[in-house]
């Protein structure tokens, strides 16, 4: 004999649990995929994504920042914090 209220409450807490699991996984992914000790170089054979393109773009971004410093004025909306 099912108590309908009990079943409903069970379902709600089950769904809540699923939501919590989702958020927990997302929080873990948010950290482990992009942060932590990030090593690049010839001896590391598998790093997540960006490699050469990333290195090239960093040169571009670094140059913009250097130019701004030399000019003494920002060229655009570039902020000081990396993220």
């Amino acid at each position: 004999m099912d108590n309908p209220i009990k079943t409903l409450q069970d379902k709600k807490s089950y769904l809540d649990l699923r939501k919590q699991e989702r958020v927990t996984l997302l929080e873990i992914l948010d950290r482990a995929l992009e942060k932590g000790v990030v090593i690049s170089g010839d001896i590391v054979i598998s790093v997540a994504d960006v490699d050469l393109v990333y290195l090239g773009l960093k040169v571009l971004l670094s140059s913009v920042e250097t130019m701004e410093r030399l000019r003494g004025a920002p060229l655009s909306g570039a902020t000081e914090e990396p993220t």
């Binding site: 992914l29 950290r31 482990a32 932590g36 090593i39 001896i43 054979i45 598998s46 790093v47 993220t83």
Partner: protein, 263 residues
């Protein structure tokens, strides 16, 4: 499939670790010592996808178990080496960085605080207010000017939106400043995700920090908050070596040019 070495994290110990701990694919974990520190690894002979949920959870589980006994610098997920020699080469390269990080992060934990605000509504409100006042310094009489007028309007709206965000962020952040050693703030990752903050907290201040979160939660308003942790200090690793990904580092520029010369 060649054997690879999967790295979980750098620890402040060069001693053997508990044999019972297992890593990905149930492989045994080893601590590879280097001078007075070590790096915990396991052998891997399968391909792992980046999005493989089970593997990420396993990675995290290992790092958190290590956190119970040691100070851990968690590796980014999916950091692989072709062999033990390569691991040791890397340890040699990064030793100074690792020591600095281990010292700085000892007895500290990371908490995450995320805040959601009604960004969509706020943007709407600002947009409507701007349309009403229309005190733009441009008279749109030709195509170039019309284009600029519209762009400028959006620019002003964006700007006001971000200023409002900064104000809110300062208030939220203010709840925690007293209890933290360091922080990293990511603002407006989406319009509604006002703040994604990581705080580095002394273990002994853990309860104070949680109390502060409860205060924040009880402070009213229609913002939503999420507290997560304690985490291994993913967000507080600082590497200064040229190969490390550091913004605006001239070393980085040099190393890229050197790389070009070599080829």
């Amino acid at each position: 499939m060649t054997m690879k070495v999967y790295a979980y994290g750098v620890i402040d110990s060069n001693e053997k670790i508990d044999e019972a701990m297992k890593g990905l694919n149930d492989a045994p974990l080893f601590n590879i010592p280097y001078r007075d520190i070590g790096i915990v690894v396991s052998d891997l002979n399968t391909q792992i996808q980046k999005e493989d949920k089970k593997s990420v959870l396993k990675h995290e589980e290992v790092v958190e178990k290590l956190m119970d006994k040691f100070t851990v610098l968690p590796m980014r997920y999916l950091t692989l080496f072709s062999g033990k020699e390569q691991v040791l080469l890397m340890m040699k390269d990064y030793y100074d960085d690792f020591i600095e990080n281990l010292d700085r992060l000892r007895e500290k934990i990371e908490f995450g605080v995320k805040t959601i605000w009604p960004g969509d509504l706020i943007r709407e409100r600002i947009t409507t207010a701007h349309r009403k006042s229309d005190n733009l310094p441009l008279v749109a009489s030709s195509s170039g000017k019309s284009f600029m007028k519209e762009k400028f309007e959006n620019y002003k709206i964006d700007k006001e939106f971000e200023e409002e965000a900064d104000r809110c962020i300062a208030i939220v952040d203010g709840f925690f400043n007293r209890f933290i050693a360091e922080k990293r703030l990511e603002k407006l990752k989406t319009d509604n995700l006002l703040l994604s903050a990581s705080y580095l907290v002394d273990k002994e201040k853990r309860d104070d920090f949680k109390k502060a979160f409860e205060e924040l939660r009880g402070s009213g308003g229609d913002l939503k908050y999420l507290l997560s942790g304690p985490w291994p200090p993913y967000n507080f690793i600082v590497l200064t070596k040229p190969n490390a990904k550091k913004f605006g580092s001239l070393d980085m520029v040099d190393s890229v040019f050197q790389r070009k010369d070599r080829t």
